[in-house]
């Protein structure tokens, strides 16, 4: 023991001439390790805020679009958010295609926003990309705004017949969720 203690003492004095003692190393190592542990303990406190499994479980929705006539639309929900499903009339499709890309704030063609061969089925979230209000225009008789698509009553954003932003404070087109046609008249969103 004595020799061990002595050798430790010798090591310490040697280290002291370099300015770092063994005690300093132990202190820094211990506090650093405790710091890592402390940060790791924050992880569950942060991740608990993210959407839980039951919320994520609602991430697909199946809808039947057979009863929607041209010019009509329905409002459904996906992930607790409203979804607009609209059966565009040939005139509305023509209006959307007639707009030059340079006029658009968020340039996308109607073809990019619909599925091939299903250009009349416009499926978007009913969430204004400004601050998340539900735009008007999907229900019969609602204000469709100056571009004939959707109009958000909260801050006055107007969308065209392809649900692209044309006027007002919203930065983006109404979001097209991921979806696929699982049958001729059934759509799975998500």
């Amino acid at each position: 023991m004595a020799t061990k203690a002595q050798s430790a003492e010798v090591n310490d004095t040697q280290a002291a001439s370099d300015g770092v003692r063994r005690r300093d190393f132990l202190n820094v190592a211990a506090v650093s390790f405790a710091g890592v542990g402390g940060v790791a303990a924050l992880a569950p406190l942060l991740v608990q805020m993210a959407p839980s499994a039951d919320v994520l479980a609602l991430s697909t929705t199946e809808i039947d679009v057979s009863k929607i006539q041209p010019g009509q639309g329905i409002k459904t929900t996906w992930r607790k958010q409203p979804v607009f499903v609209r059966n565009l009339t040939p005139k509305e499709i023509q209006q959307a295609n007639a707009v030059p890309m340079s006029d658009l704030r968020d340039p996308e063609s109607l073809a990019q926003r619909t599925k091939p061969g299903k250009a009349n089925w416009l499926i978007t979230l009913g969430v204004c990309t400004h601050l998340g209000c539900v735009p008007l225009g999907i229900g019969e008789g609602e204000n469709r705004g100056p571009y004939g698509g959707y109009f958000c009553p909260c801050h006055g954003s107007a969308y065209d017949t392809a649900a692209r932003i044309r006027q007002g404070p919203a930065p983006k087109n109404l979001m097209v969720p991921e979806y696929k046609f699982t049958g001729p008249t059934t759509v799975q969103i998500g």
Partner: protein, 437 residues
């Protein structure tokens, strides 16, 4: 605590002496809000609003704790627990709920007067910069608490308020949308958001109370400011807080509480929005969506940005809205004039009242419907708000010639207004003292 003539606590009974030796709590209270805290003798009624804010914080905490005993934080139960259970079935529940609702509004009313008092009398200037900044922290916490409280009844305005306000965060590039989803615990406001808002709404008032203690602590180092802005020089300039200011605060608190009671009893819903008596509907936004009145000026700033300019309009709106409060943190360094009180600053005084009018216009626009005129008015008023703090205030403090200051507080009180515009000689020495102070 602050001045050499502050009286020390002297226990009046053997029990208090026993206690004071072991836990000097009575000594702390005596020095903070008792006879041991010397206060400038010339305070006007605008100095009553800090105490009033403390009173309304207490009312909110007490009524809130009781309401939480009857409230269900579930999306299915929240609306009915407020509007059926508390408003109709719980004994005196209607009174507690209306007291809490209107207590929030009155808390903001007295806080706004308190803030504008500080702006006019230069209370943010050295050596009270930290008092001012801690006050702003309290104000930000109040806004967060009020917002989350408004969501709890889960009516239409609650729901869409939560949607719009958490939507602010989605304006930030890249991290924005994930941040919003993380804050809500879902893709739209739902059970996860409601429960966490309830938890935080219960927590934050106690955080506010803690920051209030720091605010008062920082204040009591230099002592209270006063309407002349001249530093306290001798014992003649001060009065002990108790009984002089406890009495003045007491009767004035009674007067304000009377106004609060009148609104709570006779116009309990006047300051609220009728749409919040419709249960939350995630599929339909109310036609006219506005926050509570105390957020209207900021809402107007948010809505003022309608065109993209380098950054998207939405991001500009959010940055400007947060910036309008954050810039107040820099106020002690923006306004470099050594004269504190607006009463001695003829140019500053005019711009101060213009700012008050500007904020009232912003408030009107924030609560009004969107049309071309209101948007233009809001844009002009929002631009002026930033112009005031970023351009006008630094220029005024650089070029303005202030009026002569009184030699001391007691002189200004005892000799009346005539002595305040004193001869050139005495005024020179007064101004020197202010610069030195």
């Amino acid at each position: 605590m602050s001045f050499s003539w502050a009286k020390a606590y002297e226990p009046k009974s053997s029990f208090m002496r026993w206690l004071d030796d072991r836990l000097p709590l009575p000594r702390l209270v005596y020095g903070a809000i008792g006879g041991g805290y010397p206060v400038p003798r010339n305070l006007n009624y605008f100095w009553n609003f800090g105490v009033l804010a403390g009173i309304f914080l207490t009312i909110q905490i007490v009524s809130g704790i009781v309401l939480a005993m009857h409230y269900f934080a579930t999306t299915g139960g929240a609306f009915n627990s407020v509007n059926q259970l508390i408003m109709r079935d719980v004994n005196a529940g209607w009174l507690l709920r209306y007291a809490h609702m209107n207590g929030a509004s009155f808390f903001f009313i007295v806080t706004y007067i308190h803030i504008f008092r500080g702006l006019y009398y230069g209370s943010y200037k050295a050596p009270r910069e930290l008092v001012w900044m801690l006050g702003l922290v309290i104000y930000l916490l109040m806004m967060a608490t009020a917002f989350m409280g408004y969501v709890l009844p889960w009516g239409q305005m609650s729901y869409w308020g939560a949607q719009v306000i958490t939507g602010f965060f989605s304006a930030f590039p890249l991290i924005g949308e994930p941040l919003r989803v993380w804050l809500l615990g879902g893709y739209a406001p739902d059970q996860a958001a409601l429960t966490r808002f309830f938890s935080l709404h219960y927590l934050l008032p106690f955080v506010i109370a803690a920051v209030v203690i720091l605010h008062i602590w920082a204040l009591h180092i230099p002592g209270s400011s006063n309407p002349t802005g001249v530093d306290v020089k001798s014992e003649k300039d001060t009065l002990p807080f108790h009984p002089f200011y406890t009495a003045k605060d007491g009767w004035f608190a009674a007067a304000v509480l009377l106004a609060y009671a009148l609104v709570t009893y006779f116009a309990p819903d006047y300051l609220g929005h009728p749409d919040n008596y419709i249960p939350a509907n995630p599929l339909a936004t109310p036609a006219h969506i506005v926050p509570e009145w105390y957020f209207w000026p900021f809402y107007a700033i948010l809505r003022s940005f309608t065109v993209d300019f380098i950054l998207p309009a939405k991001l500009w709106g959010v940055l400007a809205m947060f910036g309008s409060i954050l810039l107040l943190f820099f106020l002690p360094w923006v306004d470099k004039s050594p004269v504190r009180s607006g009463a001695y600053r003829p140019v500053f005084k005019r711009f101060f009242w213009l700012l008050v009018v500007d904020v009232i216009i912003l408030g009107y626009v924030g609560g009004a419907e969107i049309n071309a005129f209101n948007v233009a008015l809001g844009q002009a008023a929002a631009a002026y708000y930033f112009l005031h703090f970023l351009v006008i205030l630094p220029l005024v403090s650089a070029f303005e010639t202030p009026l002569p200051l009184p030699n001391s507080i007691s002189e200004s009180v005892l000799h009346g207004e005539a002595a305040e515009s004193a001869p050139a000689g005495s005024n020179k020495s007064a101004r020197n003292t202010v610069v030195a102070g």
